[in-house]
């Protein structure tokens, strides 16, 4: 039995311990904002916050979650999260949008620990998140804009 919280709700899980968190959240908890892109922690589409850390949920088995706090894009409501979501819309970052839940979660985690990231900080924090539409240019701009919003 694994007990953890998902977006503030307590979950007791006693199914297949090897099931990745991503598939539990998508198929069993029916929260589909987090996406599947690679399954091997190489693209970031599945990024959730686990105990506050941006985490690749496709590669985290349910057995590792005992006592954990899990937040998905549906539950993202921190100041940084809100600022990121707003900046994303103001700069029309999205194209197909499929990678963007993961990008937003990663960016929110970055701003939670680094209030005013430089371009280099952004490169380091965001390079695990692939965007095949190559919206990187606007992601950078929007993260800077979100940082400014939070400062104000």
């Amino acid at each position: 039995m694994t007990e953890f919280t998902l977006n503030g709700k307590t979950i007791q899980y006693d199914g297949d311990p090897t099931m990745p968190l991503l598939w539990y959240v998508r198929d069993l908890a029916e929260l589909t904002g987090s996406k599947f892109g690679c399954g091997i922690a190489m693209c970031g589409a599945c990024t959730m916050h686990v105990n506050g850390q941006a985490t690749r949920s496709c590669s985290l088995p349910m057995s590792a979650l005992d006592g954990a706090t899990v937040v998905t894009i549906e539950g993202l409501s921190t100041a940084a999260g809100e600022a990121v979501k707003e900046a994303w819309q103001e700069h029309d970052v999205v194209q197909c949008g499929y990678c963007q839940s993961g990008q937003v979660m990663q960016a929110a985690a970055l701003l939670a620990t680094n209030a005013m990231p430089t371009d280099e900080d952004i490169d380091v924090a965001m390079q695990g998140n692939v965007c095949r539409c190559a919206t990187y240019h606007r992601i950078r701009t929007a993260i800077h804009a979100a940082a400014k919003k939070l400062e104000a």
Partner: protein
């Protein structure tokens, strides 16, 4: 408007002029609007409120919302913003009252006007083919609103205008278009509504007063946008497919004993395309697939390796080919030349690698079929499913979903993953909806690549250094040969081999372009800008070699050769100017330029690249100029250029699919390396002001990016890059 002959290859059946096609005005049943599973968000309203349908593209509701029926797939290119913008402009609506809704699959009303009776999205044609159609629809609705107001107010229609979502009379009387909707729906639709003049445009074009925010930004920034992977239906089952490990192999024997013991696995089904595992959820299906033991028959499979294929392509180029362009006398030019330059190029297979791996949800019930997928060509997918299931096409209902990228991948002649889902549902023989989800590995190993190609070039210069002869010989697999669209190949050779090479815009007195199709058992497909991907690269890199050999500045040489193409010249000059071409840079940094027309849009790019001592390099900046006719939503145009450039850089710098004894060697993002944020340059896009009809922007940003970077590296190292990808470093 005129269209270049290159488009006809992608025009699936035949090219139809915009004018005179089936634009119908008339009050129709609002049920034309599909029950759309995408309606959760506030920008994508479910039309339950029975709005008044002014024609089959526009619904005006009494609550003052205007919903545009979008006949094209959004795969990121922004059609759900661009198409409503055209209507809003002609109608005189406010942007905040605009909504959108996907159309149902219906090739009679929602066909792509460039493709004849086929509904589909591709060839960078969504805005271009809809331009006049939606302007006419918007203008007709505007005239009906005006006539309704004239009747109600008892004034002449000529004294009424519509703007900001309101009809206004010169006396000061106003009414919103929603208030007039019921009365307007009683008006006989005009047959030839008068379109606005370009100078009166307020919402669209580069001079519009402000940016029109994307309609889909909110749902895609907050995780609520729904893609195929997110579709949920009652009693739905998850499926994965075990595909043959070699292209052309088939199933010989399956042992499913262990798979069926896995908790959650319900069925193992053998289909003509592989072995399907059907389970309660995706993870169980994956575990079931791992437990299968399958014997494959690979007697007819493609078993060559990449180096053998390269040698084979080189052999094809050394043999007689078909001339697709011949001007002047190339033999004479070479005989009389004082210098000749030669170069060959090798291009690898490329995967589309959309972020959302291919997927489809499909249900067979009561003699009807429902499909949920991000379909680029609904007419094709519906037809394929009808053929597999025996259900007549009119009973196959397609519910279009947002696509997590496509780049051409979701327009497949045999509808591969959609066909698979239909095969699984048919083999299952039950009414459960089936969600087939490919893994990244399935997607990357699944074929349908941008073809490998080999190009050979020769140029002749006279004793003054003038370019007198240009000879290109190209080979690659045909995309259309052996598919239901083979009849579209107009000459002896598939146009994709030389598109963009054949149309070389430079004035050279003697030009020959030749091609021959290669035959390889690896399935190929159009990939963002198709044949332009390799032809832009080879022609523009070779031209820089000529510039260096004749000691001319690459921009000056191009200008000199563009005597017959003033539009190209203007775009080239704009990019050069905005990039400060010619100004001093640090010694380890250089600029490179490339110019290319595709899908009737001309793009020039200047790359600024820094080379490090260890041979690694960084693309600092790309300055891009584009002439795409009127830019309907300029910020979306810019986004498409930015993304197209990123896609081109990604392929040029890092991507290749290679084969070893027929097996693909890259199966996920650790071995197939996409561009990441730390490699993304600054991008500066400049749009040429224009009142011409809009041309495509989804693809044209991609072709010039690679050669612009290669030409900058050429300036730094003195060596042209003739094999792609470049990789993380170059030899200095």
């Amino acid at each position: 408007m005129t269209r270049s002959p290159t488009l006809s290859r992608r025009a699936l059946l035949r090219v139809t002029a915009i004018a005179g096609t089936g634009f119908m005005i008339g009050c129709e049943d609002p049920s034309v609007v599909d029950d759309n599973t995408n309606s959760a968000s506030d920008t994508n309203t479910n039309i339950d409120t029975a709005p008044l349908t002014f024609n089959h593209f526009i619904n005006i509701s009494t609550d003052d919302t205007v919903t545009v029926v979008v006949k094209h797939l959004d795969k990121g290119q922004g059609v759900t913003t661009g198409l409503p913008a055209i209507v809003a402009e002609e109608l005189g609506a406010r942007w905040d009252q605009m909504r959108w809704q996907y159309s149902p699959a219906d090739s009679t009303r929602y066909n792509n006007l460039f493709w004849g009776p086929v509904q589909g999205t591709g060839g960078s044609s969504s805005i271009a083919n809809s331009w006049k159609q939606l302007r006419t629809a918007g203008a007709a609705a505007r005239e009906m609103i005006i006539n309704a107001a004239a009747k109600e107010w008892g004034v002449p229609a000529t004294e009424i205008t519509v703007s900001n979502g309101k009809a206004q009379h010169s006396s000061g009387k106003t009414a919103s278009i929603g208030e007039l909707a019921i009365a307007a729906s009683q008006i006989t639709p005009p047959t030839e509504p008068k379109l606005k003049l370009a100078r009166d445009f307020k919402l669209i074009g580069v001079n519009a007063s402000g940016k029109l925010p994307r309609m889909d930004s909110k749902e895609k920034s907050t995780g609520t946008a729904q893609y195929t992977i997110d579709v949920k239906r009652p009693n739905m089952l998850s499926a994965v497919m075990a595909h043959p490990p070699l292209f052309g192999a088939t199933v010989k024997h399956v042992d499913d004993t262990k798979a069926l013991q896995i908790e959650g696995v319900e069925h193992v089904l053998t289909t003509p395309r592989g072995v399907a595992v059907v389970a309660k959820h995706h993870w169980a299906a994956l575990k079931g697939r791992e437990a299968l033991t399958i014997e494959w028959d690979d007697s007819a499979a493609e078993k060559r390796s990449s180096d053998e294929l390269t040698a084979y392509l080189q052999k094809v180029v050394s043999e007689p080919m078909t001339a697709v362009r011949e001007e002047g006398d190339i033999k004479k030019a070479f005989n009389e030349s004082s210098k000749t330059i030669e170069m060959t190029f090798d291009f690898p297979y490329l995967a589309h690698a959309t972020m959302e791996p291919m997927n489809c949800v499909l249900q067979l019930k009561n003699g009807e079929c429902h499909i949920w997928t991000g379909s680029q060509v609904p007419t094709l997918d519906v037809g394929t499913v009808a053929a597999i299931t025996g259900i007549p096409p009119e009973n196959v209902h397609l519910h279009v979903q947002f696509a997590g990228g496509s780049f051409g991948r979701r327009a497949v002649p045999d509808s591969d993953y959609v066909a698979e889902t239909a095969m699984i549902a048919k083999a299952l023989g039950k009414t459960n909806p089936i969600k087939l989800q490919w893994t990244r590995e399935d997607d990357m190993l699944g074929g349908r690549y941008r073809p490998m190609a080999h190009h050979q070039f020769q140029a002749s210069l006279d004793n003054k250094g003038n370019l007198t002869g240009w000879h290109q010989r190209a080979t690659a697999q045909s995309i259309l040969r052996g598919t239901p669209f083979e009849a579209m190949i107009s000459g002896a050779v598939d146009d994709s081999l030389t598109e963009g090479g054949k149309q070389l815009p430079y004035s050279v007195p003697n030009i020959t372009v030749e091609a021959a199709e290669a035959e390889i058992g690896v399935p190929v497909l159009w990939w963002r800008s198709v044949g332009h991907t390799f032809n832009a690269y080879s022609t523009e890199v070779f031209l820089d070699e000529i510039a260096h050999a004749s000691q001319q500045d690459p921009v000056e040489l191009r200008k000199k050769l563009l005597t017959k193409h003033p539009k190209h010249k203007k775009v080239l000059e704009l990019a050069a100017d905005k990039s400060n071409w010619g100004s001093a840079l640090p010694s380890n940094t250089a600029r490179g330029i490339a110019l290319h027309e595709s899908f009737n849009t001309v793009v020039a790019q200047v790359a600024e690249v820094t080379l490090n001592g260890d041979g690694s390099y960084r693309v600092n900046k790309i300055t891009c100029a584009v002439d795409c006719g009127i830019a309907v939503t300029p910020d979306v145009v810019k986004a498409q250029l930015e993304g197209g450039i990123g896609y081109g850089l990604s392929a040029t710098m890092g991507e290749a699919i290679t084969l070893k004894e027929g097996r693909v060697e890259q199966n996920n993002f650790h071995t197939y390396q996409p561009l990441r944020i730390n490699q993304m340059p600054e991008i500066d896009v400049h749009i040429v002001e224009s009142n011409e009809a809009p041309t495509g922007v989804g693809e044209p940003g991609t072709p010039p990016a690679g050669p612009a970077v290669a030409n900058a590296l050429r300036a730094l190292t003195g060596k042209a890059i003739t094999q792609l990808p470049i990789g993380p470093s170059v030899t200095t």
